[in-house]
């Protein structure tokens, strides 16, 4: 037995002296009284007093007991006992059925259910789980065989990828939380790809007994491994769709690949897939109406696992999105370079529209993918409020801070403090080179860190708190600064797009810089045209702002509850197919979801590995030690302060009863 707060017990022992003192005081209170004769006060009188003293001693003992029990309860006593998990008399049976995507092969799932049903204990308590990428608890702990069998029968094949590590983690949690040994029967096709990188992740709690029923077998399988298609296009005829067909444990074979858009076959090609290899086939041109297109590539020939012969992708057909370029003066050199760079890309999705600051006041900014302010000066003040509202409601603005912007105390719209123009000169810096460029920033990925670019003049800007500085010049001045404002963002380039303040427009990094920045600000970059099952889809960019998001699942049902639609930030994609996401402002997005292709590898784990996994809990319990990678189970401390408190309460009741009976002054 131990005490968590032993000082309380010490205080209680000291406090126990109080009733002793009170009782001594009570005895001294009997002052002697002179009486004529004690002849008639016989020995029976002494007997009565003796009884009274006995009762007082009992009362004092009760009070001492009460104090000590209270002190003991506060000291939080506990008993150390061997972990209950090692107690074999209280075993919990768990039957786990693998319902990952690979169980769709043939009648694997039916066989697994049959094996699971036969593995149910006859009279012991059991639970039924299913395993995909997560563990699903399908029944309460029950001895009712009918309930458990019903739970097994309710298991259906999922699109998830199985994870043995996830099962081991769930079993460890269950063993610890239930404090009882587990006897687990796991019915699975035992795919090799379900094993975690580290075998330690499969370790079980000591006392846990695992039996893996392997119903898998090695099969040849072909699958569409990947599809590379454009995300957004204005001209579908230029679209190129690259398809990778893989054969897994499969011999060389000719496979017919069909490209479909919105369920209509557009093209068919035959590809020679080498043994255990990959082949690529390219389709050129897509057809379809404006909006989101449901692209699909499939292998027309059947094989062992036909459900992985299909690959979904989403393509958006839209007119080129307009970019508004606002300048103090029209037809500047900077505008020319910017427009040429943005429209020169083959995959360009943007068309530049130039307006002066005065004319931009009448423009509807929501029609533009983003807005570019080329060296905004005093003339921009008239529409600055409009621009700021545009940003806060979700728009994006790219500001090239030239000499006019630098001359102002703050950069327009962004509000960054400007220290004026900094100009290179012969005396000090002949030019400024980019020195600290973040190559992971979307604008700078393929710009070669802007190497070789020379800056002769730039705005000396102080980056505000919370802003992201993606690039700096060699003197430490911020060159590219991003700041989130409301739902939108502002990107400030501390120089111009012409070849006067710098020589960036004539360097090879300029076009990728402008193109990537346009994709980034136009939110083209952050859209993938397909996701994997079990990945998460961001639903909101501003978590504080209340907005409703509607998601229609592949089967046409709502994927979000009302509460989730109002508050959820992410959605876990659990099924293969197309998710129709409708965000605020009626912005619609089609998300294609595919099964993790590792599920297509129908190759079981070696028997020796499964045996090692099975022994990870049993061996430790038998040896009294612990499995590799696991700490030995610490003795469990069972607190019993509550029982001490109950005993104190009973002592209090007894003390109250005795004191009320013997200590009251009779009239």
């Amino acid at each position: 037995m131990g005490l968590l707060s032993p000082w309380w017990l010490l205080a209680g022992v000291v406090g126990a002296g109080l009733p002793v003192w009170l009782h001594l005081l009570q005895q001294h209170k009997q002052d002697p009284v002179e009486f004529a004769s004690t002849m008639l006060l016989e020995k029976r009188t002494e007997s009565t007093t003796y009884q009274r003293r006995l009762k007082y001693k009992l009362l004092m003992a009760l009070r001492l007991l009460l104090l000590l029990l209270i002190a003991l309860a506060f000291a939080q006593p506990y008993l150390s006992k061997p972990p209950a998990i090692l107690n074999a008399g209280n075993t919990l049976h768990i039957v786990v059925v693998d319902n990952s995507f690979s169980m769709r092969e043939g009648d694997r799932l039916a066989a697994a259910k049959s094996e699971a049903t036969s593995a149910l204990p006859t009279a012991a308590a059991a639970q039924v789980w299913s395993l995909g990428s997560h563990v699903s608890y399908l029944s309460q702990t029950s001895k009712d065989r009918g309930e458990l069998t019903g739970a097994i029968n309710s298991i259906g094949a999922s699109d998830e990828k199985s994870s043995f590590a996830e099962l081991s983690r769930a079993l460890r949690d269950s063993a610890r939380s239930n404090s009882r040994p587990l006897k687990v029967t796991f019915v699975t096709d035992a795919q090799r790809t379900a094993l975690p990188p580290s075998f330690a992740d499969l370790s079980l709690e000591p006392g846990s007994e695992l039996k893996v029923v392997d119903i898998g077998r090695k099969l040849a399988n072909y699958t569409i491994e990947a599809v590379n298609a454009p995300k957004t296009l204005s001209d579908l005829s230029k679209a190129k769709v690259n398809v990778t067909v893989a054969g897994i444990n499969a011999p060389a074979a000719k496979k017919t690949v069909v490209l479909k858009v919105n369920g209509r076959s557009l093209a068919t090609k035959t590809v020679e897939v080498p043994e255990n290899g990959r082949a690529t086939v390219e389709f050129t041109g897509l057809e379809g109406p404006y909006g989101w297109l449901r692209g699909e590539v499939e292998i027309s020939d059947s094989d062992a696992l036909s459900d992985d012969n299909r690959f979904y992708f989403a393509v958006e057909k839209a007119d080129p999105r307009k970019v508004l370029l606002i300048e103090e003066q029209r037809s500047t050199r900077a505008g020319f370079y910017f427009k040429a760079a943005l429209e020169s890309s083959a995959q360009s999705f943007f068309a530049v529209e130039e307006l002066s600051a005065g004319a931009a006041a009448a423009a509807n900014l929501s029609n533009y993918a983003f807005v570019v302010l080329n060296d905004p000066g005093v003339n921009i003040k008239g529409i600055e409020t409009t621009l700021r509202k545009y940003v806060e409601s979700g728009g994006t603005i790219w500001i090239a801070a030239g000499p006019q912007s630098a001359a102002m105390p703050t950069i327009p719209v962004a509000g960054f403090t400007s220290g004026g123009s900094k100009v290179a000169s012969r005396g000090t810096w002949r030019f400024f080179a980019p020195a600290n460029v973040d190559p992971t920033f979307p604008s700078l990925r393929r710009t070669g860190r802007l190497e070789g670019v020379r800056f002769f003049q730039f705005a000396s800007i102080t980056a505000p708190e919370g802003a992201l500085v993606a690039a700096r010049l060699e003197d430490g001045s911020p060159l590219l600064i991003e700041k989130i404002m409301g739902e939108g963002k502002v990107l400030v380039f501390a120089s111009t797009f012409d070849n006067i303040s710098n020589d960036l427009p004539v360097k090879p990094g300029f076009v990728p810089f402008v193109e990537q920045t346009a994709d980034y600000l136009g939110r083209v970059e952050d859209r993938a045209n397909s996701f994997l099952v079990d990945s998460y889809l961001d639903l909101r960019s501003d978590q504080k702002r209340a907005s409703s998001v509607e998601v229609i699942g592949p089967k046409g049902d709502r994927a979000l509850s009302l509460k989730e639609a109002a508050a959820a930030n992410t959605l876990r994609l659990t099924e293969a197919g197309f998710y129709d996401v409708r965000r605020e402002n009626d912005r619609q997005e089609l998300v294609a979801v595919n099964v993790d292709r590792r599920e297509s590898a129908l190759e079981p784990v070696g028997k020796e590995n499964l045996q090692l996994w099975e022994q990870s809990g049993r061996g430790a319990a038998a040896a009294g030690g612990q499995p590799a990678g696991l700490d030995s189970p610490a003795p469990e401390s069972q607190s019993f302060w509550w029982w001490v408190a109950v005993a104190a309460f009973l002592a209090l009741m007894a003390e109250s009863f005795l004191s009320a009976r013997f200590l009251q002054v009779k009239a």
């Binding site: 209170k29 009997q30 002052d31 002697p32 009284v33 002179e34 009486f35 004529a36 004769s37 004690t38 002849m39 008639l40 006060l41 016989e42 029976r44 009188t45 002494e46 009565t48 007093t49 009274r52 002054v665 009779k666």
Partner: protein, 294 residues
């Protein structure tokens, strides 16, 4: 109004035992106007039939001559009674609130003596505790009353009471038959007390026992458990209020009852005198006993 002078609490305010006795007796006598059976002179009281053995000197021959029957003529106001008062001076007599048992006994004894003198009886006094402290032989001469009252007033409590020892001496002091009054709290076994006093009865003495007790002895009450110290022996006994209220009272009542019954069985008069009881009750008892002597 004068009856108030028989109240012990009133008497305790009077200084001088002779004045106390006089006040008591005068007040008592004034209250006897309806009791003509008791007088102070030799006057005719009654006739009764002659029975063999009676003294022929008391036969009224004139009645015999008229009625030819022999009647004896009885008179009141005998003056030849010797009254001896035995006053217990044990330490337990000092118990009680004012007046305590000894003070009350002084009032009682002095009143009795005063009354006896008024009756022309010879009065004597024996003061004792565990032995005889003072003996004044019965006498009726002038000034004897003052001597007795003085002795009573100066009497102080001694030590323990031992009835056997002093009473064996009383037989030597009391040689003539008369009235013996014993004033004590009788803290002894009733059987022992009666056996000790009984020899006085053998000499044809009328014996009256005045049992003096304080109200606190009869009905003691304490607020809580207490240690009772015996005044005489110093013995300590712890008691509870419950015990004093129930068992002790029962024992005391039994003690009194035993004394009473055993005294009557031995031909003695027993009279319980709590210290809050008016003294006339004692005087009545005296006169009743004296009447029995005549």
């Amino acid at each position: 109004m004068q009856q108030n002078y028989l109240d012990p609490h009133v008497l305790s305010a009077i200084s001088g035992l002779d004045l106390v006795a006089k006040t008591v007796v005068q007040g008592f006598i004034n209250g006897l106007h309806r009791s003509p059976d008791f007088g102070f002179s030799q006057e005719f009281a009654e006739y009764r039939m002659y029975s063999p053995g009676d003294d022929l000197r008391h036969v009224d021959w004139n009645v015999y001559a008229r009625a030819e029957r022999m009647y004896l003529k009885r008179y009141k106001g005998e003056t030849n009674t010797k009254v001896t008062v035995l006053l217990d001076l044990s330490k337990s007599m000092s118990f009680g609130k004012k007046p305590n048992k000894l003070e009350y006994s002084r009032y009682l004894v002095s009143s009795l003596v005063y009354l006896a003198v008024q009756q022309r009886d010879a009065t004597g006094l024996i003061l004792f505790d565990d032995e005889v402290r003072q003996f004044i032989p019965p006498a009726s001469r002038v000034g004897h009353l003052q001597k007795v009252l003085h002795a009573v007033e100066k009497a102080e409590v001694g030590q323990h009471t031992n009835f056997a020892k002093p009473f064996s001496q009383f037989l030597e002091y009391i040689r003539q038959r008369g009235l013996v009054i014993v004033v004590s709290d009788f803290y002894a076994d009733p059987e022992t007390v009666i056996q000790t006093i009984a020899p006085l009865r053998w000499k044809k003495n009328e014996v009256v026992l005045f049992h003096i007790l304080d109200r606190q002895e009869l009905e003691p009450s304490i607020a809580g458990p207490a240690t009772m110290i015996d005044i005489e022996s110093g013995e300590a006994v712890e008691v509870t209020p419950e015990y004093l209220k129930t068992e002790y009272r029962a024992k005391m009542n039994q003690h009194i009852e035993d004394l009473h019954s055993k005294a009557q069985g031995a031909g003695m008069e027993y009279f319980l005198m709590p210290t809050d009881k008016p003294l006339d009750a004692g005087l009545r008892e005296y006169l009743a006993a004296r009447k029995g002597r005549m």
